[in-house]
């Protein structure tokens, strides 16, 4: 086994996360898909940091985590406020930009 395995796993997780975003309607599950994608990226970063022997990859992964946390906060707040007005958590119901 080489470090490439980690990278392949990261790619697979990323794709599954992308599929979740595209195929699920519940806003919270979509958001979780996004989180999964971020995590897959983190895994890749850590692997590359190990590959190159440079801790900068881990630093980047750390920052990604922090930003992801902030993003989750705001995103969930939005979902909650939308839910309050529309009583629905489906992403498809927010289609007012339909032309």
């Amino acid at each position: 086994m080489t470090l490439t395995n980690y990278l392949v796993l990261s790619g697979i997780l990323f794709s599954i996360g992308a599929a979740t975003v595209l195929l699920r309607r519940n806003a919270i599950i979509v958001f979780m898909g996004v989180e999964l994608m971020l995590n897959a990226t983190n895994l890749a970063l850590v692997t590359f940091s190990r590959l190159h022997g440079d801790l900068t990859g881990q630093v980047m992964a750390f920052f990604v985590m922090v930003v992801a946390a902030a993003e989750v906060v705001v995103g969930l707040a939005i979902i909650v406020s939308i839910f309050r007005t529309r009583k629905s958590a489906s992403v498809d119901d927010i289609n007012l930009l339909k032309s």
């Binding site: 595209l22 309607r25 979509v30 992403v91 498809d92 289609n95 007012l96 339909k98 032309s99």
Partner: protein, 639 residues
């Protein structure tokens, strides 16, 4: 006063008068006609002064170019606008201004009851100015300016009473027929520019002498010039407008469509002598056209009951004579111009007489409603009769001297051509003289002789034919005097021919195929036969008040030998089809392109709009697909 300052006055004075009369409008109504008359007379005086000046010079010094201003300067093409005062142009100047002034005088009384008299005089002056530009121009381009100007004046004057729609339509017809001819002049201009690099008479003549142009080019140019002349002079095939042009007031018919404008074509042909002499084929075509028109006009004239239309047909025929003479080459040029001058007098005189008759008969023109007017309108009868005798060619009246010379020249075999031409054209001219005698006598007898066939008008009034006022009879008398004596005077000692020689070139006298005396006798015989036939039919026998059925030829002649039908079929209908198809093409192709572009854009927009579903997941899918494609595109070469 030298030529250089006098010559521009010829054009400037009538033009300024026209401008004043048009700009001042109704404020000049009370005195406008006098100003017009004054302007025309002043032009005549200037012309006379110029004649004196020219006569004082030796014969080879009589061609004076007066430079007016530098007109076009474009690269290698330099054209200056100038006037060419030489015997030919001066002849025309005198004819136009003299006859024109007389007609101005006549119009003062003729149009006295018309509220738009001042406008009439403005247009008349405009015509005089344009005609003078035409004959005085020193280049084809300036001639064209005058050419268009007289066309415009003719249009304005024919349609003077344009509240009556048929008159406006007649004006339009005249203008359009002229336009067809103008194409010829334009093409000729272009050919000249292409061949000689210049369009003034001197350069063209020098260029032809220098052999710059091939015979083919000269033939083409000549034919185009002939086309232009046909349009302006109402020759076959562009003759259909002259009869309708009689819708204008009679002074207009007298001035423009008898004496001056219609002769512009002859002027053009004679002026372009160098071109035609280099293209014998074109000359032959000119002669043929003249011959055809001669006969055409005569035949049509025999069947017309409208006095003015009959006179118009006569004009057409007489100009046919002039064109025939001009086509004969140097032999005939001088006689063409001679006949032009004499014809100007007697035809204008007869038109004024016809106007006088109409004036006395409540503006009727149907000759079948006239008859026995000689007792009531003596002066008119006398002056008209003198013009009639002149046009018949009875010696010693003017027409005899000019027309006979043309018939003689027609019988001359041209250089390098077959004898058949002399016989053919000579015979045609001779027979034409006979027919002319017939229909002109018919006109004369139907109007002035025979029995009264007058009708009551719509209000039940009987016409009271009376002599016209002095202002109308004086010009008629003067013109009659000209019809009588001018021909004799001018031909004394070959004076007129010699006078024109600087322009037409000296011509050796050629013998016609028949002796001159024989020709003269046979001509007079034909004239006598025509006269007697007309006397028998229209003076001694009663004239039916409604036109009888007549033979097929008569019926055809009544409708101008189907010229309108032919024009319609050949020109108007195809033109209409062309216009319609062009409009259709424009609408579908051009408009279609733009509308189509618009619709295409909208259609594409409609398609693209479907991408905007409002669903975030579909947008996300689009993004993902784009990302995948991008990744493949970027990374694929590297793998």
């Amino acid at each position: 006063m030298d030529v250089n300052s006098l010559a521009p006055l010829l054009v400037a004075v009538p033009l300024a008068s026209a401008a004043v009369l048009l700009l001042l409008g109704r404020r000049s109504d009370r005195w406008g006609h006098w100003l017009g008359l004054l302007a025309s007379t002043a032009a005549f005086v200037v012309g006379a002064l110029l004649l004196v000046e020219l006569l004082g010079r030796p014969a080879d010094d009589r061609s004076i170019r007066v430079h007016l201003f530098d007109w076009i300067s474009a690269g290698r093409f330099d054209l200056s606008a100038g006037l060419l005062v030489d015997p030919l142009s001066l002849t025309f100047v005198l004819l136009v201004t003299f006859v024109g002034s007389l007609i101005h005088l006549y119009s003062v009384a003729y149009m006295a009851h018309d509220a738009a008299r001042r406008r009439f005089f403005a247009y008349l002056n405009l015509f005089i100015a344009a005609m003078l530009i035409l004959v005085l121009a020193d280049s084809y381009l300036l001639l064209f300016v005058g050419w268009e100007g007289v066309g415009l004046a003719s249009y304005l004057l024919i349609g003077f009473w344009n509240h009556h729609t048929p008159y406006a339509v007649a004006a339009k017809k005249a203008f359009v027929a002229n336009r067809v001819g103008d194409i010829g002049l334009l093409v000729a201009l272009m050919l000249m520019f292409a061949t000689f690099g210049s369009v003034d008479f001197a350069s063209v003549s020098a260029g032809i002498d220098g052999g710059l142009a091939s015979t083919a080019t000269l033939t083409a140019t000549g034919l185009m010039l002939l086309l232009a002349a046909c349009g302006k002079s109402a020759q076959f095939p562009l003759q259909s407008w002259l009869g309708d042009a009689m819708a204008g007031p009679t002074p207009v018919s007298a001035l423009i469509h008898a004496a001056t404008m219609v002769t512009a074509g002859v002027y053009l042909i004679v002026r372009s002598a160098p071109v035609f002499e280099g293209a014998p084929t074109a000359q032959l075509v000119v002669t043929v056209v003249g011959a055809i028109t001669l006969v055409f006009g005569a035949v049509v004239g025999c069947a017309k009951d409208d006095i003015k239309k009959a006179l118009a047909a006569s004009t057409m025929s007489q100009i046919g004579y002039m064109v025939l003479a001009a086509g004969l080459g140097p032999v005939g040029y001088a006689f063409a111009i001679f006949h032009l001058v004499t014809h100007g007098f007697f035809k204008a005189g007869m038109f004024l007489g016809a106007g006088s008759v109409m004036h006395g008969m409540d503006d009727q023109t149907d000759m079948r409603r006239f008859g026995a007017l000689r007792k009531y309108m003596v002066i008119t009868w006398v002056t008209f009769g003198l013009g009639w005798l002149a046009i018949l060619g009875v010696p010693p009246f003017s027409g005899f001297w000019s027309k006979d010379k043309i018939i003689e020249s027609a019988f001359v075999v041209p250089e390098g051509a077959g004898e058949w031409r002399a016989w053919l054209f000579g015979a045609v001219a001779l027979i034409g003289a006979g027919i002319t005698a017939f229909y002109m006598s018919r006109l004369f007898f139907m109007t002035f002789h025979g029995s009264k066939r007058w009708t009551k008008d719509a209000d039940g009034h009987e016409p009271h034919p009376h002599e016209s006022p002095a202002l109308m009879t004086i010009p008629m008398i003067v013109l009659a005097i000209g019809s009588v004596g001018l021909g004799f005077v001018l031909q004394l000692g070959g004076g007129f021919t010699t006078w024109l020689e600087p322009v037409t070139g000296h011509v050796e006298h050629h013998e016609p195929v028949l002796p001159v005396l024989v020709i003269q006798v046979v001509t007079l015989l034909a004239v006598a036969i025509g006269l007697v036939l007309a006397w028998r039919q229209y003076a001694s026998l009663p004239v039916p008040e409604t036109a009888p059925e007549g033979s097929a030829l008569t019926r055809a002649a009544r409708v101008d030998l189907y010229q309108d039908a032919v024009n319609d079929a050949v020109l108007v209908e195809p033109g209409r089809h062309l216009t319609r198809s062009l409009v259709y093409g424009d609408r579908t192709a051009v408009d279609g392109t733009f509308t189509g572009l618009g619709r295409l854009t909208v259609g594409i927009g409609e398609l693209v709009r479907r991408l905007q579903t409002g669903y975030a997941r579909q947008y996300a899918a689009t993004m993902l697909l784009g990302l995948v494609v991008l990744a493949v595109v970027v990374l694929a070469p590297r793998i």
